[in-house]
């Protein structure tokens, strides 16, 4: 990146939202923003290995905590940027459903989720199902994918009758219908933390981060279905 450009490492599930935001920011300020999307784990490791990223937007807090523990982020810049919610989807069209009925409705079908011990959406989903007392009954039928998008695709293609995905994903995929919302209390809050990288927290980077946390970007994110967490 040329001097003055800002390079943002962001979890791939944020692509649509961040692409739009970056474009708007660029149009407004003339500031060049470059976005590199990959799995949060990969990006975090790259930052540990000295990647030239200025900002990091993760899909979960654990990797951000890891970076923070290693003093790799500028602590004062860390904030929870966005929130999301977890929903149960089925191939469209589908009627709403009470979560408690899930095991029955699932029958012998598969419940598509992201990796339940590894990928944030899967971890949240497992926690939610556990707290609802459903996990043990459905566990054997969970089909895990390497990312939440692939889980969505399994539902969209009709391969799996149900899937646990983010609300944002469900909204953007016309071939699925949201049949139930998971109560926010059933899992740890879904947050997308953001921070500037230690030593690279230039004025431009901080300005972008502030703007992303501001109302203009907030409107764009909200339109995608995200919860805007920043003040």
């Amino acid at each position: 990146a040329r001097a003055g450009d800002v390079l943002v490492f962001a979890a791939s599930s944020l692509k649509t939202a961040l692409d739009e935001a970056a474009q708007a920011y660029q149009a407004k300020t003339g500031q060049t923003v470059t976005l590199s999307y990959a799995a949060t784990s990969a990006l975090a490791r790259q930052i540990e290995a000295g990647a030239p990223a200025d900002l990091f937007v993760a899909a979960s807090t654990d990797w951000m905590d890891t970076l923070a523990a290693g003093s790799l982020i500028a602590p004062d810049t860390r904030r929870d940027l966005l929130g999301n919610a977890l929903v149960l989807v089925a191939p469209a069209p589908a009627a709403p459903l009470a979560l408690a009925d899930l095991p029955v409705r699932l029958g012998s079908g598969k419940l598509a989720m992201a990796l339940v011990d590894a990928v944030p959406a899967g971890i949240y989903g497992k926690a939610a199902l556990t707290s609802l007392g459903l996990w043990d009954t459905v566990a054997a039928q969970v089909a895990q994918t390497d990312n939440v998008r692939a889980a969505l695709a399994l539902v969209a293609s009709g391969e799996a009758p149900f899937g646990v995905v983010y609300r944002t994903d469900a909204l953007a995929e016309p071939r699925v219908a949201t049949v139930a919302d998971f109560p926010a209390a059933s899992h740890a809050p879904i947050v997308y933390p953001a921070a500037a990288i230690a030593g690279r927290d230039s004025a431009e980077a901080r300005a972008l981060l502030d703007w992303l946390a501001g109302p203009e970007a907030g409107a764009l994110f909200a339109a995608q279905g995200f919860t805007v967490l920043a003040e």
């Binding site: 990797w63 990796l115 011990d117 590894a118 089909a143 390497d146 399994l154 391969e159």
Partner: protein
């Protein structure tokens, strides 16, 4: 987890072996046929066939996985037809084998094709003058002479199948005990901070298995070479 590897991990090892073995074995006849066609026959659409064979190499594995889902999914025409025949692929280890086989196919075909091209057609002619019909010539002259290439192709395919991840998880997801192969398990460990050491143990197993297969294939190849080389 009990002992060095937990039961789920052992299951993943066993599954990976099964998947790689069957993927290699079942694609071998088709691989040989395709290699033969590409090496020896002239037909319209040869370039196309060659391209299709290489496709899994060119496409990101995720794409291949999606294409598989769209072709062999339960709702997809081919997948449905196969189910009628009692062949179930979705969410089964058989589907993992299919994915691995397809991903390994180009490697196998190239190796076999090179050996076929190296066979001296004058030997096949000699066999024909002795009265052997084409299929017999093929089975008794060509096939034994290309065994080193078949072996090389098979071992490449096996190694690839042991390592295949992207297409597999996208197509059949990751169901412990059913479709969780070693690479899926390794991937899962790498997604969470601190999972490296667990991943490393699985990597070690994976490498050991593949090394054993490689050494076996080298020993076999040397025997074959000695048989053909004379003495």
């Amino acid at each position: 987890m009990t002992g060095w590897l937990g039961p789920e991990e052992w299951a993943a090892v066993a599954l990976s072996l099964r998947v790689a073995f069957w993927a290699t074995l079942c694609t071998l006849p088709l691989g040989i046929l395709t290699a033969h066609a590409l090496a020896r026959w002239r037909f319209p659409g040869k370039h196309l066939l060659n391209g299709i064979v290489h496709l899994p190499l060119i496409l990101p594995p995720v794409v291949t996985g999606y294409l598989l889902l769209m072709t062999f999914g339960t709702r997809a025409p081919v997948g449905a037809a196969l189910q009628e025949l009692g062949i179930f692929l979705a969410f089964r280890w058989t589907g993992a084998a299919l994915a691995a086989g397809i991903m390994a196919f180009p490697l196998m075909v190239r190796a076999i094709r090179l050996s076929i091209e190296a066979v001296d057609p004058r030997l096949e002619q000699a066999a024909a003058t002795l009265g052997a019909p084409r299929a017999w010539v093929w089975a008794t002259i060509t096939l034994p002479l290309i065994l080193p290439g078949i072996l090389a192709g098979a071992i490449l395919a096996f190694a690839k199948a042991m390592g295949e991840f992207g297409a597999t998880i996208t197509f059949v997801s990751n169901i412990p005990g059913q479709t969780q192969t070693l690479p899926s398990a390794i991937y899962a460990f790498l997604q969470v901070p601190g999972g490296e050491s667990a991943a490393l143990r699985l990597v070690a197993v994976s490498v050991a298995v593949a090394m054993a297969a490689l050494i076996l294939s080298e020993v076999l190849a040397r025997r074959i070479a000695a048989r053909v080389g004379g003495a």
